[in-house]
Amino acid sequence: MEEEKIVGYVTAFLKKKGFTQTEKIFQEEFQHNKSCSSLEADIGNHLLAFSQLETGPARFHDGYSKLRTWTYSSLDLYKHELLRVLYPVFIHCFMDLVAKGHLQEARNFFNTFREDHEMMHLRDLQKLEGVLSPAHLQEMEFAHSLRQSKFNIKICEYSNELLLQHLHSTQSTTILGIINEHINFQVTPGQPSLISDDPEAVTLTGSSQEAANQINQKEIHWGLLEDSLEERLEKSGAFLSDSEKGEGEAKEGENDETKKRSSEGGKQGASAKKVKKDKGGSATGKSAKPEANNIPAAPRVKPELALPVMPTEVEQSILEDLRNRVQLSNVALPSVSFYTFINTHNGLSCSSISHDGSLIAGGFSDSSLKVWDMAQLGQQPASSLLQGENDTSQNEQLLGQGGGKRQYTLFQGHSGPVYAASFSPVGDFILSSSADSTIRLWSTKLNANLVCYKGHNYPVWDVQFSPVGHYFASCSHDRTARIWSMDRIQPLRIMAGHLSDVDCVQWHANCNYIATGSSDKTVRLWDVQSGECVRVFVGHRGMILSLAMSPDGRCMASGDEDGTIMMWDLSSGRCLTPLIGHTSCVWSLGFSSEGSILASGSADCTVKLWDVNSSTKVSRIEEKGGNANRLRSLKTLPTKSTPVYSLRFSRRNLLFAAGALAKSG
């Protein structure tokens, strides 16, 4: 009788500590020799005493506060590394207390030590604060994922030893248990790292760390598409400049430089290059290129999607735009044209600008989508004559409905706030996504709704046309992103993997990948063809609100609700530099057409221009020298009191920005 009790205790203890293997073996051994009991009884008593000693809820509090005081009094050299351990221990102590039902103690514990972590983890704390019963732990996704996964902490050898020694010497088995169970130390030899705010020092991934590492090991082909318009333009340009040899030579000098850079870039994404060699098609494409080609960076890749054919006149106009493009750099800043929405009555929830800047769409919380044609605004009377017959009749209809003369085209069809709108590259279609979980396709030529795409189960937060049109991506509160084509009402791919809402989506320049930003504070890159996640970018501290891909396909920028922008290297999956300057949500990001300038629009009523080239260079130096450096902000353009909702560089490098005037005060 007594024996069974003890066995019960032992198994309970093992279960509690998560030693499942040991438990199994123990059970087996127990079955084998039930005979020798006198010794076990002794151990059993010991264990019994031990567990009684340990069960009090106070031990978490004591253990943690001991560890905390020890950490704060440790040597400065190792302090910042040891401090990283505190947060995981803190939240797991809290959750253990809750799980055991000591709610009052859990609340006290949380409030006592909350301040230590508020700066770094405010949002997580806010989420956890509401957990008040064991059932909540099971129910809440965030707590669940914390329980399931392990923290990865980078720590140097010596700090690790110090920590373990301390824990053993003070016999704080509770804390030791937590650390063993939930923290995965990545011990690095040598001195502790100098950068105290290394964003990757403490990471938490949904699955285990190995899986995340594996994900980021996959190759991606971030090169641009073969036979793109830019390339064709350069070819024709080379034709033209044949006569002027001198100029051509100068150009070649430049090319050498760019080639060097490209080889460097190649080294960075070594894995990417390997695969290129394997793939015969792309390799031949590369070798076949003329020497005078100005395109640096990655080898060209083939599209994985069947791309639509562009009408020749559209192609011509794009080529014309490319020829007239203004060259921007850190000394030649762009002109910014600002569209201000007035009298929105707090109802504007998104805006979008077409690629040439002539059309502005605004999505409203009253389910309407309104499109302004800026080319017509200046010349109201003449416009009706210029428009096609079909157009005018439609317009008249609309005017009849509205009563007065309306300056915009009203699209009605949604039954919930319109959260995003996106123009097709040519500007003849608009997509809008709404809280009614549908996406609608509208024609700007016919002023009518063409298709309603139903598939998402929850509000669709964002929708984006691909750079070539026809395909589009959407993302939703249902934690998925989906790829669609215009001609099918079912999605082509569903990307699932984010742990929370997918808030924004963006296409890669070569259309083979999409990036998604989520409320789980990660950005993921997905392969469109396979639907697999190929990169996870960890580092943001708030929900991701905006994404932008550089035109050369190498970098990505993401902005979060705290105003931080992060520049990522796609091939390595690492953050190049955080861009700090905005004080509120970054609603919109945009790269200039040749990729030298990043523009960001924020709720703090400013447009900021950032130097991209210096940032990537700096990061390279940083990699070598190991010194943290910040990307340069070129210019801050404050608006009077208009939060900037959207940004777009036109093909000629004119920057368009839009926002709704907020009443001051």
């Binding site: 044209s337 929830s349 959260y419």
Partner: protein
Amino acid sequence: MSIVPNETIQVIAESIGINNLSPDVALAVAPDVEYFMRQIMQEAIKCMRHSRRTTLTADDVDAALNLKNVEPIYGFASGGPLRFKRAVGHRDLFYIEDKDVDLNDVIEASLPKAPLDTAITCHWLAIEGVQPAIPENAPVEVISAPADAKKLEQKEDNLPVDIKLPVKHVLSRELQLYFDKVAELTLSESDSVLFKEALVSLATDSGLHPLVPYFTCFIADEVSRGLNNFPLLFALMRVVSSLLQNPHIHIEPYLHQLMPSVVTCLVAKRLGSRLADNHWELRDFTANLVASICKRFGPVYGNLQSRLTKTLLNAFLDPKKAMTQHYGAIQGLGALGPNVVRLLLLPNLETYMRLLEPEMLLEKQKNEMKRHEAWRVYGALLRAAGQCIYDRLKIFPTFPSPPHHTVWKTNAKVLTSARKRKASTEQLEQQPPLKKAAADGESRAVIMNSSPVHKQGEAVIPASSVDDSIIGSSSSAQMKNETTLDVQVRNNRGDTQALNTSAALAQVWKDELNSGRMLVSLFELFGEGILSFIRAPEMYMFL
């Protein structure tokens, strides 16, 4: 444990018809309520972000409830964030104000205007990286001179000479037209409605910053040229005042250019050529202007106020200056605040009054014009001193006078005044040879009679019309009496103070006494005129 108290749960349960909810159930439900509330608020924040807003509204909460498949709470829809009011008497109880609406008002009210339709305006936020100074843009902080021009110069000729290139200042065509138009209006049509519009525009438009140097130059030029042109001067001062009001303009760097013209309009000997010109009004206006400048830029410009007061005081103390100049100086000092008056004006009051008095009397000053001016100055002085004493007395009621206290105070006051009177009589009797000017017995008798009357019976005697500067022989005669009396009272005061200190009265008393003394001396100088500046309770206290 949870932030939702059990009582709340019980109240809500009752409101939906569960009357016998046991406390245990409430205790168990409370954590769940908090958990779901937090969850809903988190979803609401997501909806807020996706609506591109940074303020949470009731709509967001509704949308979040919708996401959770819960019926939204009706009745809280609003265009903007809800404004909560704090309940009186409770520290952390808030409510949304719900006004009673009279149906009749609603029925009778005219139809509300249709809300304006959404529209888009377009402007250049930047041209090649530079923000143009247009009203649509936020005001440019500082117009910086091109710095690279100088460097280039030095590189080229390597001379140590620092050549200052003329700063290229680009003024847009629109701004030039604007400036020309405003200048023209100021010069010729300062009465027109258009000019008033222009003043409003000057006071509100952003983007006018590039014009500020031009306006300062224009004002300085025209003031020095047009001292005889009264309407012009007034118009110019109005322009200055509008420019000062404009929140988008940094006028500080140009103050040193503006101030001389403004001060000129305050203390010039003649403003305008005709008799009909109401230059007093201009001086008053300018005095207020000067005071507002001092208030706004005083902290930034260290010596602004000291320089200004020095100028004004010099004008005031110079007996050779015209009465108009004195008037301007007094008005200027008066506008600078009671402290300035107390420190600078009051100590000189007595001597000045001696100068002023003969000018005001019919017998001594035959020139009507001059006499009028003197009375004007007298009025200004009276006002300045009155404001000063008013301010001084305002400080007092720091004791929230409980009744017995006041009684005690008034008693004491009566005591002191009685003592004062006694002392004065004693003094007069004891040392008659010391009195020089007012030694003759006749006047002493008058004084002895008049002083108690004045001290007790002011409330009865209607305040004479000194304010209105109507020349009345009676009041001036009274004036004369009082000034002569002043000399004596001063002596007496010395005594009373000695008495007081010997009586070892508290520090508070001394302070009170100081102002009391000030009041007395002012009263002696101005008569009842000063009393209109004193509030009733204080007056009661001091009489």
